[in-house]
Symmetry: D3
Subunit: 316 residues, 6 copies
């Protein structure tokens, strides 16, 4: 059973609207090696997990990483949404959001025709989509769950490394600070997960030598990544476990298989930053343009605020 | 940010292996109107939500239902896994699991060729798959998120009703108690979500008259459903909100739009039942068949159990 | 612009419910070489057609065949629907429809788990689906429209021949009279279309020799086909043209390229048989089970019947 | 059975070639909420319709709207074709079609590499494709036909509203008069269909209050739309019924559920404008470049024109 | 550049028609981890390979294994074709092929409706299809080619191991000797390729310990596999290199990483067995049923045999 | 069984990096009418071929053309790879490859966001992908193999002609010499294959008149094509048959059906040009950036070069 805290797992830096960067980030959300895939793959591997009691730590490891990936979906999805928000008014210098629908025949959404994915403005309302950077919808056929523990772990290691490889390439495509704050964070967390699966495979007999991490990012070269690596974020695993029952820590300790001199450690969850709500975009009819409806919502909300004080206690 | 409790959201009744029922349930997991779809649709609608402060209850409602759907994915996925487990040995009367690979050329998996989806035994290891009951992989193109609040809610109402319609049909396809315990629970929870979106649309001006719920299941006819309806489970909404910050309760109160005479109410989360791990299946090479590897895992685990007592405190 | 007559293009023979035959026929509806594809391919070729005045007959030919294909979609779709209708009660000897939902936990839809496509009972309500006989959804990628007249005609000839080949195979899979009445009709009409495209290619210089028709069905062997061939239905082309403006007849005359000794001729449209409405199926919640709703529909209908007498004249 | 009149359902305004606008319009043709989808969805709902005699008006309503959608496919497909035609020679100021293939190594199609969908020039010959604006082929999985009348109508209402929402966004992407004449027309007709399904749901007990239409376009702001709304086109339903047997008018009368003060009314069909044929494009080898072939076609056509006068009477 | 020898890479044992086994084998041909995928993945990795001269052995290794996979596609495709051939007449005891189309309304293909994939008889003519065992068409999205050497090799190792895992499961589904002769051969060759990629990764620093092979098949248990393992076929690599230029042997020598005590060695190619042509199937119209056409082919062939003696020398 | 020679089937002319041209060429590789499709279609038609001894030449023809198509996949894939290589540094005037990853936050891959397919830089490492020019992955559903000889040959003729049509359009999109050298070669070879299938159909009774080739390219207009046509490359068929057993020559002789005055002839294989390896691209982490790993490879290679001299003789 899953619970939710109204916190983003990492802070998203402010920046200019940037639909091209938003589209590149879609690979990290809905791509074959993106966060929707890691999330679904680990949740299926957890649900279908087989083994006796001694295998519990492996299951808990998969479950913990899988739970983190849901928060990564939320983080990168929200980042894409912010990069798209206000983009129709963007002129290359500053953000000038356009909220009026095309009165008198104006074309406030004309930018959409030349952008990375026209669906960001036509099917969605300047928000993230469950597709990759080439517009392919996410597919259930991506999920790998052979049921063989060694193969599942080996695939997961390769999956995290490929996700990290792709994010290193995205990093080199844009210097938009909003995009980079999330990309850098995910590069480091992918390495933490790479370490987790590598370590689990070590317990099954593989010695990685100096192969890890893949790719070797040379963090010194990517300033936003280096900052997080210096904090050791690549060597911490979270359980997101409200019961304190996870045995994943058994598999994530000792020297990092990435040979960076750090020791692996486990925590329940990181601090987050509060989730906020995006502004309305009338040119997208989301939800705006209807004064009557707005008045109705407002009225309902006010009545509800009054009522809630009395009835709130009945809840739960 | 999401957290996890090692609890299933509802108990799964014991029963015989039943791959045909398992395959019918796949529609409720990976089908176009199944739990993976509701989960993803509401998470995207939450991430991309737009509005001013008065719109917060709508966002929190979407977020809360979306969080519940992750647990529904876990519940129905685990149910499918149990229905498949041991099926190769099933002879129509009792469960006789086959764990030995095909020594001397035996064919312990021969049942797979005539089953609903051969992939349950060939690609997965007697576990759930992210596909529908006809074998189509789940697709990101299912997710609807127009950004227009009325349309998104209207779609969600139709989505929950269709999910419920399909589950009522699945109910009529099998009387396997394992399958039915989960199907009955989801029929009732789908109605709760139908109520939630219907109520939100009432706040925007629609009067549903006697249209709801869709379909009218006549719970008296479906015994497993009736039991849960008598408990009022169709009129409770969960927030799964660890912060107590959700405003969703503002939209879910008063008389049920389903006109069943109940009052709507909100709670944080239901009690659950502990998650368990499925047994090994050697005929699937999951993970078994390798004494050396098992010895290695065992040894590692023992060393870790010793060590964990000392290092456990360093976590979090 | 398209018009509609409440007539099926050919009569569907009565017969037993037969979900296995229904599923085989899905190839002829939603398969890569089925009626949805021919319909869409010719409509796109018509819309995008290029040429000077002398090319008009080719366009009109495509448009006329394309219009017929919409009626073929209706014919085969309705046939599938009839073959599925009542199937849940089918016991091999006679049709015994089950209309009661699963009261007291009964399983009236249990047949669905072992049928050709479970979606016929789970996603649809014993009705046709836009998929092929293996369950793959119809895809826009099937449509061929190169813009080169010779290539488009050559593809169309091959398309009709392949459709006919597949229908000859379906004929050999079932002797259900409902299925066969439609399959036999479409085998003969596919040959008429094969003739049409072959003749158009003759006008562009190709001599088919004795190659046509493909395949050579030896109509004497297929009794239901022979009956229609004896009527000459394979050598008539319809325009479905309400304006009498079609020039397609210019391309469809003289000796049949199938070398069967007939002369080609053109007509506007065949006689049809009245369309009827299928009965309710309560076990599918389609639409039944709700006395209140039925009463409401009835009341509305009665009021409307009164009113329509007065307002009907305002229409058109 | 379907008939055809060589008339477009609405006039397409002349304008400059505009491949970017053409690509945006593809969403309205082959997108998940475009005209191919509405057409197919309503045709399937008609074929599979269930009910007793009192349900006939609902079936006829679906059939009538479905028939109109075929003409919408023709309208928007033809519009896309016109927007693409001559685009290779377009320089931003005037249209300068290029009809010569790349003699001496010239690159008359170089524009294609940077356009919305390169397939418009590479797979098609400057014509419409059965894909959406992101290039995804149309899929049969889009079609919704649950068999439950309330759900089907509710989905249809949402579908028309979403189609209209997307077209309002497309309107804001381009001021090309060719594109806008069709987009404005379809916005208004989508509203008519929205009204139709809303009214049918009113007969089943739902009161829409002031929710409709969705989105509220404020027609005054979109000049091309306002012109058609002032003509009342959003409140007329067509039956396209050559037999006069449709009972759909029973469900489409009284005050508009869109609360615009109009009365709903029914007509058989609108006036249309003659269909024309597009010019050849030799750079696309469609069909040009072959003097011999052209001579052959010409000769054949002339012979046929002579012959047709004598044999024409034998037809029909 | 590729060359062809009219030899199958391994002998296919004779056996009864068996469409259920044929369908299970489709996973090994067109499945996500089947031979079409390995073939395409290695060919793309070869074409796109990057590196300086020292990397040549890695490229040659990929090229050599990729070339072998084309022959595996031919082997398993031919095996499926043989398992399907004559199946319509199969009655459970002996093979009784049916070659007459459905004269007098007979249904010689009725078996197709209840078989693993109806397309084997309806779309193909009792032949292999490029789909998996659940009927999903092979997709280009399966191909993995990150460009990073370590990741590509790691994926390939996992890919071969998963292919082998699936084939071990297929082995346990059928004891049909035709199916097993090919499955057993591919299990052993997949291990050879697993060894190849494992060894290449050893050269990059990984020590596999006792992890390989995955899964541990315990060859003693699978008699058909044991026979080939005893011949050492799992420890030989072929180059299929007509120039003798391949450097792949540099990477494939020394002790097997599978720890079975064998030494790895390299050869150009195995002996094969002659390819044969399958008999006609008239009930599939493949190609039969047309005496005129057959006479024509015969006549042409005879003329050609005469002529070929004179002109043959002009070739090459 | 297939063999490999380290030779490209035709020389690729040097030229500037050109990702837009590379993307156009993807249609010729992974498009519905590209080389992956012809290759797979003919290999399946060969494997599943049916007939008596007189049909052998048809099978051998399909096998021979199919084998050539594998080399075409290699040729066009390598061409795309070369057009992409170094593109990140391309400034419109000269090639300035960027090999350093984004040190200090630089964005060497920023070009990727505005290119034809961002996956060329994000998923691949400046290499070819198994997708078409609109980014759709290649699909097994493309393959046509009805089993009916006439239909298969007719489809193949249409397939080659459509491939040629599309390549003529690509020719007109770019004058990049690298792209054109391959496109011109494939235009001419497609014509050779068109001739092959046309001739085979002649043997079955069809007279093509002056219809072929389709389209009529007027080679004089396309200089790069004319050069190859003058060499007669469109009238030579290769067997790629190492055994000399192919009977395909029986079907490919006499006057060309393209009426260009040439005589058809058969050869085993053309001369090729040596395959080379592409340079590393560190900005893609392919494979670079890791001095340790490079040292390891180097060391291993050196040891191997020593060893190979002794052990090489054990191979084969």
């Amino acid at each position: 059973m899953y619970l939710y805290s109204q916190q983003l797992i990492n802070e998203i830096a402010p920046g200019e609207p940037d639909p091209a960067a938003a589209n590149a980030l879609q690979e990290g959300l809905g791509g074959q090696f993106g966060e929707m895939r890691t999330m679904m793959q680990y949740l299926f591997q957890s649900m279908n997990f087989r083994g006796d009691a001694s295998a519990q730590p492996y299951r808990d490891l998969l479950q913990g990483v899988g739970t983190e990936e849901i928060s990564h979906v939320e983080l990168i999805g929200t980042t894409i949404s912010r990069l798209l928000d206000g983009a129709p008014g963007y002129q290359g210098k500053k953000s000038d959001p356009v909220d009026e629908p095309g009165a008198k025949g104006a074309t406030p959404l004309s930018i959409a025709k030349d952008t990375g994915n026209i669906h960001h403005f036509l099917v969605g309302a300047q928000g993230a989509l469950p597709v990759d950077s080439a517009g392919n919808p996410w597919s259930g056929s991506y999920v790998y769950n052979s049921g063989n523990l060694v193969l599942d772990l080996l695939y997961n290691l390769m999956l995290e490394s490929t996700g990290r490889l792709q994010k290193c390439r995205i990093y080199q495509m844009t210097d938009n600070p909003t995009a980079r704050s999330t990309i850098a964070y995910l590069i480091v967390r992918d390495q933490a997960h790479e370490n987790a699966f590598a370590k689990a495979l070590e317990s099954l007999g593989i010695d990685w030598g100096k192969t890890l991490p893949i790719p070797k990012t040379n963090a010194e070269q990517f300033p936003e990544v280096k900052k997080l690596v210096d904090l050791g974020l690549q060597s911490v695993q979270y359980t997101f476990d409200v019961d304190g029952a996870s045995q994943a820590a058994k598999l994530y300790r000792g020297a990092s298989p990435s040979n960076d001199g750090t020791e692996l450690s486990t925590a329940v969850m990181p601090d987050g930053v509060p989730v906020t709500i995006s502004p309305e975009r009338k040119e997208e009819f989301a939800p705006g343009l209807d004064p009557e409806l707005l008045a109705l919502i407002q009225a309902t909300a006010e009545v509800e605020i009054e009522t809630i004080n009395k009835t709130d206690t009945t809840a739960s």
